[in-house]
Amino acid sequence: MALSREQLAQRVAQEMKDGYYVNLGIGIPTLVANYVPEGMEVMLQSENGLLGMGRFPTEDELDADMINAGKQTVTAINGASIFSSAESFAMIRGGHVDLTVLGAFEVDVRGNIASYMIPGKLIKGMGGAMDLVAGADNIIVTMTHASKNGESKLLPKCTLPLTGAGCIKKVVTDLAFMEIRNGAFWLIERAPGVSVQEIIDKTAGELVVPDVVPEMQF
C-alpha cells in the first residue's frame, strides 16, 4: 500500500545521521522532524535566518518576530543562532547544511528537479528552493510517485521549468525509495505491500530494477 504522508516522512527520517544540520521544506518535509530516530540529534536550519529551530510556541511564547521559512511562529532550541538571510544562504550555498529535504512536481533521470512554477498558472516564486538544491550535496526529494490522475512524476525529462539542474540523487515517494545515477532511477526499496510492477508502471523515466527489491522497514 502506498505510504501515508507520515510514513513518507518517517522513511526520509531514516536517512538522517547524528549531528546532521538539516533544512526541511514546507509540507511533507516539515513532518520529517517528528521522526528523528531515538537517541539521534539533528539541528534544523530555517533559511530566513535560524539554526536550531524548535517546536511551535505555546500561547505565552508566541512572538511575531520568531518565525521559520514557512512564516510559521516557532521557537529556538538551546544553542540556536539567529542571523541574516545573507548569512543563512552563505551557509546553504556553501554546502554546510548536511541534508535538504524538499518536495517537487517532477524529477527526471538526469537529477533535474521542477518544483516552483507551472506555466499558465500563477507564478508564486521559488523562494529559497533554487539555492537549496544548488547548495546541498545531499538532497532528498519527497513527493507522490504519480499525480492524482496517474501521471508519473518521475520522468525521462522534466516538462516544467527547472528549479535545479542535475542536483537530485535521492527520491522518496509514496511507493518507493530510488537513487538517481547514470541517467536512470535505481529502485532501492519499495513501500510495504507495493509491487515492483506498480512502481515500474508509474515510473516514466528509465528505472533500473534489481533482482530483489526489499520493502521499507519502519
Partner: protein, 237 residues
C-alpha cells in the same frame, strides 16, 4: 552640530526625497521585520512607478500589499509573491512586472550592492529560467551564473533597537533581509522600537553599524502574524 545623530522628527521627513520611478529596497521576510510605518508613509505620499526589491510583497491590506491598492508599484524583485490576490490580479492584467529572484541570490545581491561588489557567481539558478541570458562560467568543473548587485535610491529597514548614531540591533528572526537592505540604499531610512544613547549597545552586538544609516525614527508596530502556529499543552505532552 548634528554630528552623527540620525534622528528625524516625522515620517514625512523620514521619506523626504522619494520620487516617482525610484527603486526602494525593503527589509523583512513575509510580514516579519517589515518597516510597516515607512510603507504606510509611502502610501500616504502617493509616490508611483516604484520598483521594490523585497523578498515578498506583503499580503492584501498589510505590508507592501497596501501599495498595490493605488498601483504605486511598477515592478517587484522578489523570491516569493504568492500571498496576495491583488498582486495576482495586477500581474495577470500586465499592470505589474515581477522579477523572480532566488532568495539567497536576492540576499547576496543586496549585500553585494552595499559592499561595492558589482557582480558575483553562483550555481543557484544555473540551467533554470533564472539563468537564462546570464553569463555562465565554469569553476572547478561546475557551471555558475553571474548575478549583478542591487542598489536602491532608498532602503527602508525595520530594526529593534538603535542608538542615536544609527547603530542597529534586530530582534530574533526579524533580522532577515534588513541588514543587507540597510547597506544597499543611497538613502537608508530605519524605523525602530526603541532608541538609546550611544554607548548603551555593546559594540560587539551591533548588527548594522551606523555608517549605513541616514535617517532614524521611532515607531510603533502592529507586527501581524502570517502563520499562527501554536503548541497546545496536550500536543506538548
Amino acid at each position: 552640530m548634528s554630528g552623527f545623530n540620525k534622528l528625524v522628527g516625522s515620517y514625512q521627513e523620514a521619506m523626504a526625497g522619494l520620487e516617482d520611478g525610484m527603486t526602494v529596497i525593503a527589509g523583512g521576510f513575509g510580514l516579519c521585520g517589515i518597516p510597516e510605518n515607512l510603507i504606510s508613509e509611502i502610501k500616504n505620499k502617493g509616490t508611483t512607478d516604484l520598483t521594490f526589491v523585497s523578498n515578498n510583497c506583503g499580503v492584501d491590506g498589510f505590508g507592501l500589499g497596501v501599495l498595490l491598492e493605488d498601483k504605486q508599484i511598477k515592478k517587484m524583485v522578489s523570491s516569493y509573491v504568492g500571498e496576495n490576490k491583488l498582486f495576482e490580479e495586477q500581474l495577470l492584467a500586465g499592470e505589474l512586472e515581477v522579477e523572480l529572484t532566488p532568495q539567497g541570490t536576492l540576499a547576496e545581491k543586496m549585500r553585494a550592492g552595499g559592499a561595492g561588489i558589482p557582480a558575483f557567481y553562483t550555481a543557484t539558478g544555473y540551467g533554470t529560467p533564472v539563468g537564462e541570458g546570464k553569463e555562465v562560467k565554469e569553476f572547478n568543473g561546475r557551471k555558475y551564473i553571474m548575478e549583478e548587485a542591487i542598489t536602491g535610491d532608498f532602503a527602508i529597514v525595520k530594526a529593534w533597537k538603535a542608538d542615536t548614531f544609527g547603530n542597529l540591533v534586530y530582534r530574533h528572526t526579524a533580522q532577515n533581509f534588513n541588514p543587507m537592505a540597510a547597506t544597499a540604499g543611497k538613502i537608508t531610512v530605519v524605523e525602530v522600537e526603541e532608541i538609546v544613547e550611544p554607548g548603551e549597545l555593546d559594540p560587539a552586538h551591533i548588527h548594522t553599524p551606523g555608517i549605513y544609516v541616514d535617517r532614524l525614527i521611532l515607531g510603533t508596530f502592529e507586527k501581524r502574524i502570517e502563520q499562527r502556529t501554536i503548541t497546545t499543552v496536550e500536543s506538548q505532552a
